[in-house]
């Protein structure tokens, strides 16, 4: 079903995950239960078999909210059956620039996530669960710790979930600052206590994941949907959103908009509705120029290209970009695209784990060449080199981080070529300020260890 709203109708939020989000005390189990919480968990454990659950999840067509958009039910079904330790990892590393939805979900409604995880554990046959939360989220991790303790106390976690004899253990694991640990296999290495380097796939985590055992990895928002699907059914869930993108999405909107924040919308509403009606449109006097539709790794769309598209996985892919983590970063006309490309490249350069050459070297060179462009030291050949380096990165890396820089940088050069040419002919850039930013640079003193090159830290 395409969105039911007509063009002239104002876009409003459709809250399922965000319902009651600011209810005082929602992070406490008593309030959560008073509002109907944990009923789905009881239903899943006492009225449904794991097979029923899997079938319901697959029928819902819930797609992963962490970036790739893969069917959650299908991924859960890939785990082998049988009596062995199986793992469920919730990806709460949330470090993609522009993304902050999981933060609000965990801070304000931690039990929704825990309930979703215990349900997912039953569907996948997992007995040990972990929440890998980025180390910067102190408030959120503390909140989760308290909520997990409450859930143990109430018998929703532990050796005997709801008196069924099923065992589900849950540990909140705090990371320590490394974007790459959001990549699912790097997350597993980090959780095993190693440096967070991605692994070669296959084997996929569903077969050989944490400690070599079958492992299901899902994003916070993905798992937070489960209590609702179990409560009201797959068909109800599919009544929201589009055919290929069912459900709602918590969208993080930031940048040059009047009211940045998280808005839960039905997938398929027009982008314009999200940016103008919900986030209040441009924050300054300048008109809007372009936006990243799914975090900083998604190729930008110009306002002309993107504003009237439906916000869904399929429409963003058809437009040559992606919905990704569902984070819209908006830039107005005053933004220097060269500086923007440099910011993007610096981030991925800083976060590259250094394991493979195209990413390690490619991100480094891209930053250097964009800096030359920005400082007015570049020649036209440099721009050609930037373009060709992106081509050499794309598809040649162990994980998607390399491509995550190449895609947006390529798109910026392709769509705003005259601005790059101008930076070359006019000797630099004078858009948004360009002062040094205290990280990622070669000469900075906070690069930690003398002999340990190639660290992500």
């Amino acid at each position: 079903m395409p969105p039911t709203k007509t063009k002239t109708e104002k876009t409003t939020e459709t809250r399922i995950l965000f319902r009651n989000i600011d209810e005082p005390g929602l992070s406490k189990i008593s309030t959560y239960k008073r509002l109907g919480g944990y009923k789905s968990l009881v239903k899943a454990y006492t009225e449904m078999t794991p097979e029923d659950l899997l079938a319901e999840l697959e029928a819902s067509d819930l797609r992963g909210r962490g970036g790739a958009g893969f069917s959650m039910g299908k991924k859960a079904s890939f785990l082998p059956r049988g009596d062995m330790d199986k793992y469920l990892c919730c990806n709460a590393d949330e470090s993609e620039p522009g993304t902050f939805k999981d933060r609000e979900l965990m801070q304000k409604n931690p039990h929704q996530l825990i309930e979703g995880m215990v349900i997912a554990a039953r569907a996948a046959g997992a007995n040990r669960c972990f929440i890998y939360i980025r180390g910067e989220y102190v408030l959120q991790a503390d909140t989760l710790d308290r909520a997990v303790a409450e859930a143990y106390e109430a018998g929703y976690l532990g050796e005997d979930v709801c008196g069924t004899g099923e065992q589900v253990e849950l540990v909140v694991h705090r990371g320590a600052g490394a974007y790459i640990c959001g990549e699912e296999t790097a997350l597993l290495d980090s959780l095993e206590g190693k440096r967070g380097n991605p692994r070669l796939k296959p084997p996929f985590p569903a077969v050989e994941g944490l400690y070599g055992g079958p492992t299901l990895i899902n994003n916070v928002e993905t798992l937070s949907n489960l209590p609702h699907i179990v409560a009201s059914g797959a068909e109800w869930f599919r009544s929201f959103g589009t055919e290929q993108s069912p459900g709602t999405k918590v969208v993080s909107v930031s940048g040059d908009v009047a009211k940045p924040g998280n808005y839960e919308i039905e997938l398929g509403v027009p982008v314009r509705g999200i940016i103008d009606d919900l986030a209040g449109g441009a924050s300054g006097k300048a008109k809007l120029k372009c936006f990243f539709p799914g975090g900083s790794s998604s190729p930008v769309l110009t306002v002309e290209e993107g504003m009237d598209l439906p916000y869904s996985f399929e429409a963003m892919a058809d437009a040559g970009s992606m919905l990704g983590s569902g984070s819209i970063i908006v830039c107005d006309e005053e933004t220097s695209v060269v500086e923007l490309a440099l910011r993007v490249a610096r981030f991925y350069h800083h976060e590259s784990c250094g394991k493979c050459t195209p990413c390690r070297e490619g991100t480094n060179w891209t930053v250097k060449m964009l800096e030359r462009l920005s400082h007015g030291e570049a020649t036209p050949i440099d721009l050609e080199t930037i373009v060709s380096v992106q081509g050499n990165i794309t598809g040649n890396c162990l994980c998607v981080l390399g491509d995550s820089m190449a895609a947006p940088v390529s798109a910026l050069v392709a769509k705003y070529r005259p601005e790059f040419d101008q930076a070359i002919s006019m000797g630099g850039v004078n858009g948004h300020a360009t002062a040094g930013n205290g990280h990622g640079g070669d000469a900075l003193p906070d690069v930690a260890w003398p002999l340990g090159a190639g660290s992500a830290g």
């Binding site: 408030l139 400690y211 924040g261 998280n262 808005y263 970063i329 990280h439 003398p450």
Partner: protein, 260 residues
């Protein structure tokens, strides 16, 4: 490269490299880097990696030991407690000091080198001494669009330090940081682990001054107190309100009466 290979066998580092200077540039002394300069120049370094410390021979502060052991008990494999152990070390010593890493290694049963390699991978671990207060200013896209570079500069000026450096009195460490997952607060900063924003010009300096004076920092800018952007009652929909998980009517609070 050829210079280095010519000298292979003579020493680990080519003579031309002034190791002392290289270390110094990066803020290290040979002692901290555990490098014997004479050995490095004249012969093989000749140093085996430090083995797993004997648990009985290393004195570990009681609190640190307890925290690490509690973490170890949570995981099927002990090594998973590496990051929690390093957090514990950092809480104990203010940074991941060689001494602390040695102690954690003894409790975990791994080599200090292993823990060191883990510590250097993650941005939040300090492998050199750092300031008492940690100020991380996000300078990624959304914050940059809203004046993060100026905010970082303002805070550094007030603190009397440069990005990525600790103030002379050892009180403040200020650095630019990647997206902290709070772009709705742009420009924003994480101060001793707590998030603040959106910061108006001048409020960065105010925050630093408050930190130095031991006062509460920017009470009006705490993330913790912020409501959802769309307001409290947004998003009511026929289909969501019929849904059992989504009762909107909160039970009225029991009125306090005089009775006990």
């Amino acid at each position: 490269m050829s210079a280095a290979s010519d000298k292979a066998g003579e020493g680990m580092f080519p003579q031309e490299v002034d190791l002392e200077r290289v270390l110094d540039e990066r803020g290290f002394t040979p002692e901290i880097a555990e490098i014997d300069l004479d050995q490095a120049k004249t012969g093989s370094v000749g140093r085996e990696p430090a083995p797993v410390p004997e648990p009985g021979e290393v004195e570990v502060p009681e609190k640190l030991r307890r925290e690490i052991e509690r973490a170890m008990a949570k995981y099927p494999e002990v090594k998973s407690a590496s990051i929690p152990a390093l957090w514990a070390v950092q809480r104990e010593y203010g940074w991941c000091s060689p001494e602390g890493i040695h102690q954690a290694a003894a409790v975990l049963g791994v080599t200090p080198g292993y823990l060191q390699s883990v510590a250097t991978f993650y941005d939040l671990f300090h492998t050199e001494p750092t300031g008492e207060h940690q100020v991380l200013v996000c300078t990624n896209i959304s914050c940059w669009l809203r004046g993060a570079d100026e905010m970082l500069q303002e805070m550094c000026e007030q603190a009397g330090t440069a990005p990525g450096e600790t103030s002379e009195d050892g009180k403040l460490f200020v650095r630019g940081f990647e997206c902290l997952g709070a772009c709705d607060l742009a420009p924003m900063a994480s101060i001793d682990g707590e998030y603040f924003g959106p910061l108006e010009p001048g409020e960065g300096a105010e925050a630093i001054a408050q930190l130095c004076a031991g006062e509460k920092v920017l009470p009006k800018r705490r993330l913790e107190d912020r409501g959802a952007a769309g307001g409290k009652r947004a998003g009511a929909d026929r289909r969501t309100s019929s849904h059992p998980m989504n009762k909107t009517k909160a039970k009225p609070r029991a009125k306090k009466t005089g009775k006990a």
